[in-house]
């Protein structure tokens, strides 16, 4: 089985671009990834494209061939949808395709246009990741779902909103130098605690923003990279995916995410590593509690111990395990269908040494990305390693 290398990454700025079409956003990211890779367009064999709510936001279904066109590629293209994990699965399937020998070069990523919608319409669109009959009809929103998990976590394991505020403060700090991030604004614990409630106990500054953006990666086989003398020091050495019952009330525990545990176990086994080997992580922090659930599910903390990690300084940029050096979904932004690809692009930059926060992890050799859908009914984990 061949190894898979990241030959090029492309990102748009993540932020409010309500006037920009999804096709333009993805075109920008795809061309940037193509240019960085140096791979000629005719060598790209197919596109895996992640998108969640384009049918609502732009009334545009059948997006994949459109995105191939925008990327200047005449190759087959397939859309992957797994809510907020859409690009994560798009990348994972590209990795599997290259490993199988079916293709030597793939383009994978995703896009979401969101800020052209009203808050109510975005809320409704995002809520469709939940169970329509039993959750959406009961008034469950995306922040509301994580609020249910957050209160269940506090009941089961303890912790406080103040602990979680440190996650938000940390991720805003990390986003400050990131040119692609939506927020370049440091915040304080008091600001987080004093922000208006969205869905108690989730406050406005516990939540990721609504974001437009796109991500793209050119993935190649080891053999292709060698034959074409590509500068591609980062490999995707592990991939895993886990699932769970869609509705929160059908899970055994409301504050534990076995889909993440399953995805991590598969990815670590695939890469031949363990949680102890991980130097740096990008996790799916759509809400502050989500980062806690992720670092526990990924095996860095026991259930109940992750909530204080940021407050104790263990997951800050200078901590022993920096989490979300990009700023995370919380501060870099969360264009839903693009996020899984963005996390791998950011991790690639961090490990290559060309990310503005690379200095914090200059000796890092192994990074992990974690992308989750809905209330973690889907989870995708990747292991990335750099040649040193």
């Amino acid at each position: 089985m061949t190894g898979v290398r990241v030959a090029g990454v492309g990102l748009t700025h993540f932020g409010r671009h309500p006037e920009r079409t999804g096709r333009d956003l993805f075109g920008e990211a795809a061309l940037a990834a193509r240019e960085e890779s140096g791979v000629p367009p005719e060598d790209i064999e197919s596109i895996n494209y992640g998108n969640f709510m384009g049918s609502l936001a732009e009334r545009q279904g059948h997006q994949a061939p459109l995105m191939a066109e925008m990327a200047g590629l005449q190759c087959p293209a397939t859309r992957y949808e797994e809510a907020c994990a859409s690009a994560g699965v798009a990348v994972r399937e590209a990795v599997r395709t290259v490993r199988s020998g079916e293709a030597d070069v793939m383009l994978a990523g995703g896009c979401e246009r969101m800020t052209n919608l009203s808050t109510a319409d975005v809320t409704e669109g995002l809520a469709t990741a939940a169970d329509e009959l039993y959750e959406i009809r009961a008034g469950m929103t995306f922040p509301g779902a994580y609020a249910l998990m957050e209160r269940a976590y506090f009941e089961a394991f303890g912790g406080s909103r103040e602990d979680l505020a440190h996650v938000a403060v940390k991720n805003h700090d990390n986003a400050l130098p990131n040119e692609y991030a939506q927020f370049h604004r440091a915040i304080t614990v008091d600001e987080v605690l004093g922000a208006p409630m969205v869905s108690d106990p989730v406050g406005l500054l516990d939540a990721c923003p609504v974001t437009d953006g796109a991500s793209a990666l050119v993935l190649v086989s080891d053999e292709y990279a060698e034959e074409h003398d590509l500068d591609a020091p980062v490999s995707i050495t592990g991939s895993g995916q886990g699932g769970d019952n869609l509705a929160l009330h059908d899970r055994e525990h409301l504050a534990v995410t076995p889909a993440t545990e399953r995805a991590a176990a598969e990815a670590y086994d695939d890469a031949g590593c363990s949680a102890d080997d991980v130097d740096v992580v990008e996790v799916h922090d759509c809400f502050t509690i989500a980062e806690v659930l992720a670092v526990e599910g990924l095996g860095f903390y026991e259930n109940g111990d992750g909530v204080g990690a940021a407050r104790r300084g263990e997951t800050t940029a200078t901590g022993e395990l920096p989490v979300n050096l990009s700023g995370g979904l919380k501060a870099k932004g969360h264009p839903v269908g693009a996020t899984g690809g963005s996390q791998i692009a950011e991790m690639t930059r961090l490990l290559r040494g060309d990310h503005p926060n690379s200095d914090y992890v200059e000796d890092a050799t192994l990074g992990v990305t974690h992308n989750a859908g809905g209330t973690v009914a889907s989870a995708v984990v990747h292991v990335l390693e750099v040649d040193r």
């Binding site: 808050t119 109510a120 319409d121 809320t123 409704e124 809520a127 009959l133 039993y134 959750e135 959406i136 009809r137 009961a138 008034g139 469950m140 929103t141 922040p143 509301g144 609020a147 249910l148 998990m149 209160r151 269940a152 009941e155 208006p196 409630m197 969205v198 869905s199 108690d200 106990p201 989730v202 019952n245 509705a247 929160l248 009330h249 059908d250 409301l254």
Partner: protein, 124 residues
């Protein structure tokens, strides 16, 4: 819109004859469903929904979707009814007074925005 399986279930809850699906291993789930989501058993029978459940977690939602604009702020809770959990809008008290551990009963009310039937958890 008609949703066979769900509509009958909601009507039954409204008539005070609520049920859930139970497999031989005692796992509960909600219709429509052909397979137990916990063990894969295809032997699903109706079991009576207990009269009282307990709120396990809740949120007070200040920003709902378009279908809940006339409800805000409202509490959505997950209540444990023993064999099965239900997610519903809590009615019968101020959202700010909802607590974990509070007993509730399942009932059917009306969505104040859409006038559709709505599963509610009524404080007892």
């Amino acid at each position: 819109m008609t949703d066979a399986g769900y509509d009958e279930w909601l009507d039954a809850v409204g008539d005070g004859e609520g049920y859930y699906l139970e497999c031989p291993n005692g796992h509960g789930s909600l219709p429509p469903r052909r397979v137990c989501p916990h063990c894969g058993s295809t032997e699903l029978d109706h079991a009576d929904l207990p009269a009282t459940g307990t709120i396990e977690t809740f949120t007070i939602c200040y920003v709902g979707g378009p279908d809940f604009t006339d409800e805000e702020p409202y509490a959505t809770a997950i209540a444990d009814f023993g064999g099965v959990r239900l997610t519903g809008v809590v009615r019968g008290l101020d959202p700010e007074d909802v607590t974990v551990g509070m007993p509730v009963e399942a009932a059917v009310g009306t969505n104040r925005t859409t006038d559709e039937d709505l599963l509610i958890l009524r404080a007892r």
